[in-house]
């Protein structure tokens, strides 16, 4: 038996014999169980103590696969046979864990068929805890070590283990919840499977109705969402292109201000733009009042609905389109444009016949991104939706509203998933590898041609107006926090900040008495825990994708990037459905928030990792390997230190995204673990705009600080190791 297997055997034994088998009611980090009846109290007992007391006897078969590798020298003689033994142990252990976990729940047998087969079971079990977690890990790595032993990926235990770990995590935390959700969509409220229930719900008029075309009634939410998303996709792509052209082809000094503006949506909670729109165009908004005064019109609620959502989403997602398109526009090789010019094409002809066609895949990409973002957006429609219902908010209301219809929520979520996955698939399928642009920009000199005049002036004016508008909106947010009651009483005040973030001194020292502090600290804690885990997961995945070759790599990549296309509301619903009951009981804990952030933001880490890893010369890895280092050591000693900028970027990004997320969070928060964003939404629902806006400004400032500090470190570490890395490549 080698060292890896020995280590996992010990971990498995610790899980089975020492740690509490079931989940702890008092929380992840609690230590109460150590003093409260451990190891004999059945709530806290390890599996071994449970079965010796004659309880939960279905846990006893797990010992066999756990100890099987110890016995393997008796009958397995070749390395291949020993690997097979490990695979058998791993698979049977995992299978039994799944069977007993899914089969026996809070009320005995989970399936009627089992009751009929074995008779009623007057015992029950909770979700698995530390003990079960450790044992699961042991079986998983038995399996991967065995697979490696049979020669997969050149027998590399670390690589196969990493692949196995990521597949298991993605399987449990992305595919399992989605499958649970699908299955709840085909059940009625009593839990009986019925396809007719699903079809009845799915093809309901509320989702697919076309009443708006024939006049009279409203259209279904699916059409609403689709229409909005297509509009947003087009308009953000157009605006993004305008900005990208202005930044690179206007002869202006580099558009550094424009680039700085792209940070804004990353650090802005998604619904904050919606709030600002209300401050401007709402019933008592500044612009509404101004126009009403001048033209003596009655102020209306026109902004609530499609116009408002559209404006807010355009403000939110144009910077994303800009980021995509600036790469595309810069990537068009100047020598091709110069070639066109030497062939007697004028600027307009060059632009029309060469530059624009070369950008086409990039434009399609930006459109699909805008489409997906709009579909998934939850905050803005929630704040500004009015009567214009879209899928993402309807899912929420199906769950929290009076109807509390989980099946309906699942059906709506499926409709939403169909749209986003189709767009995601289209993006990967048609555009994945189709890029005319030079990726590195190497080996191409020359300057970009300027825009033709008839393109330049419209671009300038659109860009100027939009920039002004964006700045106004953000100005509103900062200013709005200091106004007593917007539109009614415009006196300036610190009241909202004091209510939310008041601090006082008492006998025990500093006292955070403001109402927002609780959710603020929780948010920092959860985001701070999620960020390093997300970054690790993302970079490990990126490393496997860029540097390793293994069967099924394409499917692996698709699976890991998939969560990008799953809207947060869908994740939220599916997590509630999947993790509310054993075998994995997580709702109401902080852990479920951390996990949802990890898997929502993992694609970001993967992309950052892939981008920076493709910059590293592959011979660095190979040099380390030929010098006798194994893959684990190569990864930790060579790759990770060189990836420091990417690690920092992934850390910041996942931290900030966790701070600003709302869509999945709103389903998963609990009284104990409330997050800043859901607190703010709560204030908005109470029409308490002052505090909501003050809190939002606070978040923006905090995140701006975080981004700035991290940027400072990135630049520093970049100039230290990054420079030498680059110079090593250039020779």
């Amino acid at each position: 038996m080698n060292r890896t297997v020995g280590m996992w055997l010990v971990i498995g034994l610790v899980g089975y014999c020492l740690l509490p088998w079931y989940v702890l009611e008092d929380g992840f980090w609690s230590t109460e169980w150590l003093l409260d009846g451990y190891p004999f109290d059945t709530d806290y007992a390890p599996a071994l103590f449970l079965i010796t007391q004659g309880e939960k006897l279905w846990l006893s078969p797990l010992l066999l696969p756990l100890l099987l590798p110890l016995l393997s020298p008796l009958f397995a003689h070749s390395p291949k046979q020993r690997a097979n033994v490990l695979i058998v142990a791993g698979v049977s252990g995992l299978a039994w864990l799944a069977i007993q976990g899914l089969g026996i729940g809070l009320r005995g047998w989970n399936f009627d068929a089992l009751t009929q087969l074995f008779g009623a079971l007057d015992d029950r079990q909770f979700g698995i805890g530390f003990g079960g977690l450790f044992l699961t890990a042991t079986f998983l790595f038995y399996l991967t070590t065995g697979v490696a032993g049979r020669g997969a990926v050149n027998g590399d235990v670390f690589v196969v283990g990493s692949i196995g770990l990521i597949i298991a995590l993605v399987g449990v935390f992305i595919f399992f919840p989605i499958v649970q959700m699908l299955s709840s969509a085909v059940r009625d409220n009593d839990g009986v499977y019925s396809l007719s229930v699903f079809t009845a719900k799915f093809f309901e008029n509320k989702i697919w109705g076309l009443g708006c075309l024939t006049g009279g009634t409203r259209c279904g939410v699916a059409w609403n969402s689709l229409f909005l998303a297509v509009l947003v996709g087009f308009s953000t792509t157009l605006l993004g292109l305008v900005f990208a052209l202005v930044a690179t082809r206007s002869g202006l000094k580099r558009g550094n201000l424009l680039r700085a503006l792209t940070v804004l949506p990353i650090i802005t909670p998604p619904f904050v733009i919606g709030l600002a729109i209300i401050l401007l165009f709402g019933l008592s908004g500044s612009v509404t009042k101004l126009v009403a005064d001048i033209f003596e019109l009655q102020p209306t609620r026109w902004v609530y609905g499609l116009p408002g959502i559209l404006i807010a989403q355009m403000l939110s997602f144009t910077p994303i389109a800009f980021l995509v398109l600036i790469g595309v526009v810069e990537g068009v090789s100047p020598s091709m444009e110069e070639a066109a010019q030497t062939l007697r094409a004028n600027r307009w002809q060059t632009f029309k016949t060469v530059s624009l066609p070369l950008m086409r895949p990039g434009l399609a990409n930006a459109f699909l991104l805008g489409f997906i973002e709009s579909m998934a957006d939850f905050g803005n429609p929630l704040v500004l939706g009015g009567n214009y219902d879209v899928l993402s908010t309807e899912i929420f209301f199906a769950i929290v509203g009076a109807q509390n219809d989980q099946g309906m929520a699942a059906v709506l979520a499926i409709a939403l998933l169909i749209f986003t996955l189709t767009a995601f698939y289209a993006q990967r399928r048609w555009l994945g590898n189709k890029s005319y642009t030079t990726k590195t920009g190497k080996g191409d000199s020359g300057a970009h041609a300027l825009m033709p005049k008839r393109v330049m002036w419209p671009c300038y004016s659109i860009a100027a107006i939009w920039t002004l508008f964006t700045l106004t909106v953000y100005g509103m947010i900062l200013y709005g926090g200091f106004v007593e009651t917007w539109g009614l009483n415009n006196t300036l005040t610190f009241k909202h900040y004091i209510t939310a973030f008041g601090i006082s001194w008492n006998d025990y020292g500093i006292h955070f008495k403001g109402s927002a502090w609780d959710s603020f600290w929780t948010t920092l804690k959860i985001a701070g825990t999620a960020a390093p885990l997300t970054a690790m997961l993302g970079l490990l995945t990126a490393w496997l994708l860029v540097r390793q070759n293994f069967a099924g790599k394409q499917a692996f990549e698709f699976g890991t990037m998939l969560s990008f296309a799953i809207p947060g509301t869908v994740i939220g619903v599916s997590y509630i459905l999947a993790f509310n009951v054993p075998p994995i009981e997580l709702t109401g804990t902080g852990v479920i928030l951390v996990i949802s952030f990890m898997f929502r933001n993992m694609p970001v880490g993967v992309r950052a990792g892939i981008a920076s890893m493709s910059q590293l010369d592959k011979s660095l890895d190979e040099a380390s390997l030929t010098l006798g280092a194994n893959t684990w050591r190569t990864f930790t000693r060579v790759i990770l230190p060189l990836m420091r900028p990417a690690i920092l970027a992934a850390l910041v990004f996942s931290f900030v995204r966790a701070m600003t997320a709302i869509s999945a969070v709103i389903f998963l928060v609990s009284a104990e673990y409330n997050m800043a964003t859901s607190y703010i939404i709560g204030r908005v629902e109470n029409n308490d705009y002052g505090i909501a806006i003050a809190y939002s400004s606070m978040l923006i400032v905090v995140m701006l600080t975080v981004v700035a500090v991290m940027q400072f470190f990135i630049i520093r570490s970049d100039s230290r190791s990054g420079k030498s890395a680059r110079s090593a490549q250039s020779i």
Partner: protein, 367 residues
Amino acid sequence: MTIQQQVSKAAPVEFKQVTKVYGRDVTAVDEVSLRVEAGELVTLLGPSGCGKTTTLRMIAGLEMATEGQILIGDTDVTKLPATDRDVSMVFQSYALFPHMSVLENVSYGLRIGKMKKAEILERTERGLEIVGLSGYGSRLPSELSGGQQQRVAVARALVLEPQVLLFDEPLSNLDAKLRRQVREDIRDIQTKLGLTVVYVTHDQEEALAVSDRIIVMNDAKIAQIGTPRELYDAPVDEFVADFIGEANLFDGVIDSVNGNTAMASVNGISFTALARELSVGPSRIAIRPGRILLSAAGSPNTMAGKIAKATYAGSHMEYKVSTDVAELFVVSDVESGFSEGEVVSVGFAEKGPVLLPGSTLSTTAIG
């Protein structure tokens, strides 16, 4: 670390019918068998895409053979990954770890084992001394010149005292003047320490200068194995003749064979050459540009030619000469001074023409 220890660690490498297939049907190396003796420097030479780098990477364990067997010393390493092989490699890009100092780079492989710190340091210093970089230990790779980085890469591979040391086009990133110096240094270190070295290059001059033996590869197969002299003087076919140095190729006739010697003739010139197991009849003939002699018209045992182009190249003259056989490329000394359009006699130097056994007869002339 004594030199003797290193000599005793150097091991032979053997390929038995090794094939490497990428994907489904791209054969990079096709049933190659070869043997590199311990303490020998062997070059893998060939045009790009011929499979030489894949062969090298299979020795390193960075690629796994699809079929066949690879032996290092007496051990079958076919299935062993790079980590577990006692082989070091110097990469084309050097692959120095940019975040580690020179000392950390060179000691990287040593620090993996359970060696005492003092010994690691001693061996690292010793390695840097061998490549002439003592005192550079604390620098970062980015603070060194290209040639120095190259030597650090060599030191890093050397200190592990590998059974086989591999070089993947180590000179391609250096400028022309430095190349000569560095390749001599590599050869010196190799002979002094008695290392088994496999060296990949596409530069035939470099290969001729450093190797004990050269393996010429073409199209995933071995074209010829031999000492530099053998390859240059007795290429086995047109590809080798043309790839190692330049050659004029044309058809001739073998008139008689007597043991090892053959009498052959081309367009009225008769000459003797090594028979190379050929028999009487038509044959392909190769001759180096420098072994063709030009003289005033009407000399004996020559054929008539006309100078189509004369180029002054500093140290020598280059001529293109039209003859009835082919257009010949000729190099002669500057004094010869023929001018374009002049009619000359074309003759062969003693031992100049070579009969090519491996070539099928064709009518196209190369060179």
